[in-house]
Assembly symmetry: C2
């Protein structure tokens, strides 16, 4: 066991939305490895750190008085947002309306929560508002917008989606799990300050460079979180709103450390570097005659016309594909220009 380690050490990983944790984040994770923010009466310091993490996430997302918590990841945060919306609404047959590119965690949430998921076709990789509006009815409890989609890195028109939601007396949830740490340095209207969104997913353990598990759920209003509360006998706290019980103090401490180290200057530099890398890769692929989806955030999808996943994999590359079969390269912080140069050279080899 002691000898085993992941072979690639991230130097050929182009498929992941996780990355190498920032050194300060790693250090904090190791120190808080044996703490449990799920039991705040016993583990007080990490519980205070979680409040700081939520404060920082609020600053990043334009929320003056943020409430929320550090979740196990984006899936939990998305599921909990839908759970808030379902529990708050007064219908026996709840549905959620989302664009077709919403992350598969909404499919999972729908199964778990007994909610119908209705997905609307996209237009130019972004949500089509008319198509979404057609799916909304009196039983719609939540309307989802994606700020940085998993497959193409595109940003939905969040303010308009929030309006759609509120016209239907539904909640608006924004999934910025991946995009949230890149978007503050763009002109997109995506956060609580730009749109009347109710809840948001933003994951420190993705572009935020914290260690897994550190997802983030934010709510504009603390009463929304009350929808999640379950009583906790025998803990010194009296109720719990997280999906899990015991939780990782490592994730929480590491999120605080990463945001202290990187917000805002470090994240800005990272965004600029990653975006330049994405544009460079897009240009290189275009120059070779491939169809490339113009990158909106640091993520490049391209139709390579020949499937080459197996060949690339044999050379150690980890790339993934979109549902439409395009190659998908996620320009995470660990993805450097020199990695991309080697990658393009290997593509040329075929």
């Amino acid at each position: 066991m002691v000898q085993r380690a992941e072979p690639q050490d991230f130097d050929r990983v182009l498929s992941s939305m996780c990355t190498v944790p920032h050194p300060a984040a790693r250090e904090a994770a190791e120190r808080f490895l044996a703490t449990n923010p799920g039991d705040p009466g016993t583990y007080e310091t990490v519980s205070e750190l979680e409040a700081e993490a939520v404060e920082s996430l609020g600053e990043i997302t334009g929320l003056t008085d943020p409430t929320g918590y550090v979740a196990s990841g984006g899936t939990e945060a998305n599921l909990q947002a839908v759970r808030i919306a379902r529990n708050r609404a007064d219908t026996d047959d709840p549905n959620v309306v989302a664009p077709v590119h919403a992350h598969f965690s909404f499919t999972k949430a729908a199964d778990v929560l007994g909610v119908e998921l209705r997905t609307a076709p996209a237009e130019g990789y972004r949500a089509n508002l008319e198509a979404m509006a057609e799916l909304i009815d009196d039983d719609t409890v939540c309307v989802v917008g994606v700020a940085g989609s998993t497959e193409y890195g595109y940003v939905d028109p969040i303010p308009a989606i929030a309006e759609l939601a509120h016209e239907a007396d539904a909640l608006c949830h924004v999934d910025a799990a991946w995009g949230g740490f890149y978007l503050p340095f763009t002109d997109h209207a995506w956060h609580f300050g730009h749109a009347d969104a109710d809840t948001m997913t933003i994951d420190p353990h993705k572009v935020g460079q914290a260690a897994v598990p550190a997802g983030g759920l934010l709510a504009r209003d603390g009463t929304l979180l009350d929808e999640l509360a379950v009583e906790t006998p025998y803990l010194e706290s009296t109720s719990q709103l997280t999906l899990t019980g015991t939780r990782s103090g490592a994730g929480v401490a590491s999120a605080v450390a990463a945001m202290e180290a990187l917000w805002p200057a470090g994240y800005r530099e990272q965004y600029e570097r990653s975006m330049e890398n994405a544009r460079w890769l897009a240009d290189q692929l275009r120059a070779r005659g491939h169809d490339v989806v113009d990158p909106e955030l640091p993520l490049v999808a391209a139709d390579l016309s020949v499937p080459m996943t197996d060949e690339l994999r044999a050379r150690g590359w980890r790339v993934s594909k979109t549902g439409a079969g395009e190659m998908r390269v996620v320009c995470m912080p660990h993805v450097t220009r020199s990695m991309l140069r080697s990658f393009v050279a290997d593509l040329d080899w075929y």
Copy 2:
């Protein structure tokens, strides 16, 4: 941030069901901090380690051909077991029958999954079979037995509960989240080899001495897990059965390392030491005239007649209370005889 650490370092923690990770578990967690078993195509080694963890958990729980996964913790595992039962059953109005001392994660699961939780009164801290049988009907999808209850550490009659479940064509789920690493060294009938149970929760990050997050969900039959599968476009794997998406490789690697180091001899020694500590503490409290619940596993609950949580807390002790108001001391691996001597001395002080 760098300077902050949990003040107590576990040396006065009597309330937690988590503990200091084994050194090998800590080392493995630190090395696999940046891996994600939720993306097995990218992170292959940790994915293989997860299969080993399930193998070991099967050995511990009498399951020859185990299926399951390393969950974020007992709450996820319990919730997923109820989800399996709900999805498999053919009813619009599913209910779960459990003894009253079932962990509050079942309350959470019931809210999340839209399932009715019916709890039956206990008898002598164990499940009362007649009371449970009265609650079972055609819409019962799962009957729960607890092997090591959170409040008293007692073990339900698991074989009889499994019979109740199957008479009703429901699944039997055993919650051994805490007890599972102590029970192999007792005479209790609690596991897959003793009873026709379908699913089980057993958490390496509790008595198993792995780092958080490392819970365990096991199923006797792989088709049960299929009830959880959700399609995963753009990952190299095609479906996902976990509740969360991105997951902690640290937890998985650390579970394998802990079980390699401790199963079975190390866990046996730990059980014996902890059980002796629990008996010693029970005797000390009895000798001082307190009502003590005779410990069945290493957990002592006692009615101290005077509430003293605040005083003990002021002296740095972390103790918790049962729902009935008794003081509750969990004899985890980090709880030594000398800690308990100091604790009793502090109790005498009042």
